[in-house]
């Protein structure tokens, strides 16, 4: 088990190197630079700025500098927000994005699994149809439409929640963005849970349990839930990726000072270091979370032994 984890952690390194290299050269290939403004800078000033950030050197040399800094955990200075280093910006934004993302995943899991179970247990009943139709709505309305509708209804017309801002993560400020971020994932998870629950409910041991007259909630929660959750766990990887990209939009709409908001802004401003920082950071996060998901999967599924030879 430990050996397996270590191997996987080692495997992260080439993945990260590829991510860093691709994004670095992709960003640098883009037309325009961080100091191109609508007014023209005098050449001496332009040169002084470029020298400060090593732009006067050939690109591979600059890449070398960047990697060397990165090894020391230094993401470099931000070009756009020149009073801050990228490391500082990430450290400020990340806890907020993490809190937002985790809340959304948890909400999606609790409500999604719950709705899926109910729908499966009452297959083809009215509950099933209603729950699954709502789930489909979650899938078929993009969150950038859902978010303004939520704000309009619950912050402007009926002022229950704030319309934006973070306010150090107060509960009221979190409700709307978390819901908007979680809705599509709730829908996917509900559908997956329903499908796998239906499978599980048809298996012999569950039928036996029912015929023995065990109470329904005990059968569902104690016996059926664990195997039914396997596909949900395997969906968590894509779900995390979905929440991270979703947060780019949600953070912008709600004015939340998270990491995702830097990404598009940074790319537009050619803030090379900031964009790189966000990409690398999210890259590490996605890799680590995928590892975690695999471990959880291994714990839940007795048929899979971690580290075993794969033969499918």
């Amino acid at each position: 088990m430990l050996v397996y984890i270590l191997k996987r952690l080692l495997g992260i390194i080439p993945t990260l190197l590829i991510i860093i290299t691709i994004s670095y050269f992709l960003i640098r290939m883009a037309p325009g630079g961080p100091f191109d403004l609508d007014q023209t800078l005098p050449p001496e000033i332009q040169a002084s700025l470029e020298a400060k950030y090593h732009f006067d050197k050939p690109l591979p040399v600059q890449f070398g500098y960047y990697i060397a800094d990165l090894m020391r955990g230094d993401f470099g200075p931000s070009f756009q927000y020149n009073n801050y280093s990228v490391t500082e910006l990430i450290m400020q934004g990340f806890p907020i994005s993490l809190q937002l993302g985790l809340s959304a995943i948890l909400l999606a899991l609790i409500i999604g699994c719950g709705a899926g179970m109910v729908a499966a247990y009452r297959q083809n009943s009215r509950y099933d149809y209603i729950l699954m139709s709502i789930a489909m709505l979650g899938i078929s309305i993009p969150n950038f439409v859902m978010a303004p509708i939520l704000i309009l209804l619950l912050a402007v017309l009926l002022p229950v929640f704030p319309a934006g801002g973070w306010d150090d993560g107060s509960l009221m400020n979190q409700v709307l963005p978390v819901v908007a971020l979680a809705l599509p994932q709730i829908a996917y998870i509900a559908r997956i849970t329903r499908g796998s629950m239906l499978d599980v409910l048809r298996t012999g041991y569950i039928r036996t349990a029912f015929s023995k007259g065990l109470p329904t909630h005990i059968i569902l929660l104690r016996h059926a839930l664990k195997p039914a959750l396997l596909p949900v766990v395997s969906y968590l990887g894509p779900a995390i990726a979905g929440i991270i990209t979703g947060s780019v939009v949600i953070e912008q709409i709600f004015g939340i000072p998270g990491l995702g908001r830097y990404f598009v802004q940074g790319a537009l401003n050619r803030d090379y270091t900031l964009v790189m920082g966000v990409v690398v950071f999210y890259g590490v996060l996605i890799v680590l979370l995928n590892l975690l998901v695999d471990l959880v999967y291994g714990l839940l599924d007795p048929q899979i032994r971690l580290g075993a030879q794969s033969s499918d």
Partner: protein, 533 residues
């Protein structure tokens, strides 16, 4: 509604009593919340660029000259000043009671230090050109002279002598620009790049920096050492970065913002109906135009085509029916309302539109195009709802009246800028110019053949000559006539199509007092106050 909100609030607090809800029902007395566009680039007045930075710096710092609520110049750190007869030497007398937020006196030496810092290429300031009229400034910017050769000297701690390279009638106006603000030398030397952080930043304006949460808010608090502190009413002011303008409106409506930085064009109709009293629209020093690339075919040496395309654009339909923002249809280069100036306009402005179209069709045919042999053109614009709409409408007008086929190119800002500057692939492109100071010259200079933002590649020896002549002219009336002559020359060359003159647009809550519209769109927090409500 407010009661409802309180009720729900307390209910939720009861339910989740473990989790505090800080700042939500804060006492709003003399606390102001301003929407501020995007996150400011920096709070260092010499190293930042853009409106969001300048908005905050106007509250944090004070230059020699300041502005009243209506935009008129008024004494800032300088109590009084004199100008020499040839207009080349200014002597400023500084206030004795001007102080930094740590209690230090603001001296003439601070200004000497700060201005040398701006023009020093090592600083890498975006706005070094603001001080270009000062003697030796340009040589220093180009690295040909030492910063201490700048024509600025402190005669004593309260007397500052500034020598210019030539008479500059708008020089005092320049000194309201945020890049001319002084910085506190001791704290800058102590903290280096981190001197703008809360706790480190020492400022000399009405406010001092209290909190800076990137992408969340910047909080300023009253500077007790400010010389005019007794007249300042707002105690705390929050600047919230809200890039998404629709979100900004919603937050304003929810009562989280008192003043917005912008107004979503797409909801202008709704706002005019429902928030009429709170909408503040005022002329602004800017022109929105389409530029021609004059260095290449098809527009090089094709005056008739350029004129025809300009004439068939119905600017009134565009501003009144489509945009509905109150922007002013433009037939000139310099906007209305510029100090000591009145614009020259195209004489076909007064013609009935139908007649204009006939005339344009004639020119179009003389240029060699017809319905059977239509002109095909590429129109470039940078990504924005507003630019997109305007480009679509203009393309439709060209198609309707002349049969021109337009291909739209939507480019992201930096790509767009790179293409515009290269002048290789551009044909017609969207552009806009916002003046840094209230003088016709700040518009006129853009089309000088040597100007860095002359992306049309317009060159005219006669025009350059007129501008040089105006710079030497001390008499206001004669100077105005020369600049008008230059503008007429410019318009007749059809180097661009003026579309509209900008207006500034804000929503201001009725309980915010002291707010006055002004052409610079500068709204110092120290002029404002919260009325009881």
């Amino acid at each position: 509604m407010q009661r409802m909100r309180c009720f729900v609030n307390s209910f939720i607090i009861l339910v989740a009593s473990v989790l505090p809800v800080p700042g939500y029902a804060e006492d709003r007395l003399q606390v102001l919340h301003r929407g501020n566009g995007s996150e400011p680039q920096s709070l260092d007045p010499h190293k930042s660029e853009g409106v969001p930075s300048a908005n905050i710096q106007r509250d944090l710092f004070e230059g020699l000259i300041s502005e009243a609520a209506n935009g008129d110049l008024e004494p800032g750190v300088a109590k009084s000043w004199t100008m020499s007869a040839d207009g080349r030497v200014y002597t400023f007398k500084l206030r004795q009671d001007a102080k930094w937020s740590n209690g230090d006196l603001v001296t003439a030496y601070d200004f000497v230090y700060s201005w040398r810092r701006i023009v020093d290429p090592k600083t890498g300031s975006y706005y070094s050109q603001t001080l270009a009229p000062i003697k030796n400034a340009e040589a220093i910017i180009q690295g040909k002279a030492r910063p201490d050769s700048l024509g600025v000297r402190a005669l004593s701690s309260t007397v500052l002598k500034v020598t210019l390279k030539g008479p500059t009638p708008y020089f005092l106006g320049l000194l309201t620009h945020s890049s001319t603000y002084p910085v506190h030398r001791a704290s800058l030397q102590k903290h280096g790049d981190r001197f703008t952080r809360p706790g480190n930043l020492v400022s000399n304006g009405a406010y001092q920096l209290s909190e800076w949460a990137v992408q969340s808010h910047i909080l300023l608090e009253r500077n007790p050492h400010y010389w005019n502190n007794a007249k300042t009413q707002i105690d705390r002011v929050y600047f919230h970065p809200v890039e998404n303008i629709s979100s900004e409106l919603k937050r304003y409506r929810a009562g989280e913002l008192d003043i917005t930085e912008n107004v979503p064009i797409s909801q202008m109709g709704w706002i005019r109906e429902n928030l009429r009293e709170e909408l503040r629209i005022a002329p602004y020093l800017g022109v929105y135009y389409l530029g021609y690339n004059l260095t290449r075919a098809p527009f090089k040496d094709n005056l008739k085509l350029r004129q025809a395309l300009s004439m068939v654009i119905n600017r009134e339909v565009l501003t009144d029916k489509i945009l509905k923002t109150g922007d002013l249809p433009a037939y000139s280069w310099v906007p209305p309302g510029v100090a000591n100036y009145s614009s020259i306009e195209y004489d076909w402005k007064s013609q009935p539109f139908k007649q204009r179209v006939l005339e344009a069709q004639r020119l179009y045919q003389e240029a060699g195009y017809s319905k059977a042999n239509p002109f095909t053109v590429e129109l470039r614009y940078n990504t924005s709802e507003n630019h997109k709409k305007i480009a679509l409408v203009i393309a439709a007008m060209w198609k309707q009246h002349l049969g021109v086929k337009t291909r739209l190119y939507n480019e992201e800002w930096k790509v767009f800028l790179a293409n515009r500057k290269a002048m290789k692939v551009t044909q017609v492109f969207r552009s806009g110019w916002i003046a840094d100071y209230n003088d016709a010259y700040s518009f006129a200079e853009l089309l000088h053949s040597q100007h860095g933002v002359n992306d049309m590649g317009y060159t005219s020896a006669e025009y350059d000559r007129l501008l040089a002549q105006s710079a030497m002219q001390l008499d206001q009336t004669k100077r105005r006539q020369i600049l008008q002559q230059a503008e007429r020359h410019l318009l007749n060359d059809y180097a661009f199509i003026p579309i509209y003159h900008y207006v500034s647009k804000h929503l201001v809550k009725p309980y915010v007092g002291g707010y006055e519209d002004n052409i610079m769109d500068h709204h110092y927090t120290r002029h404002l106050f919260i009325k009881p409500h």
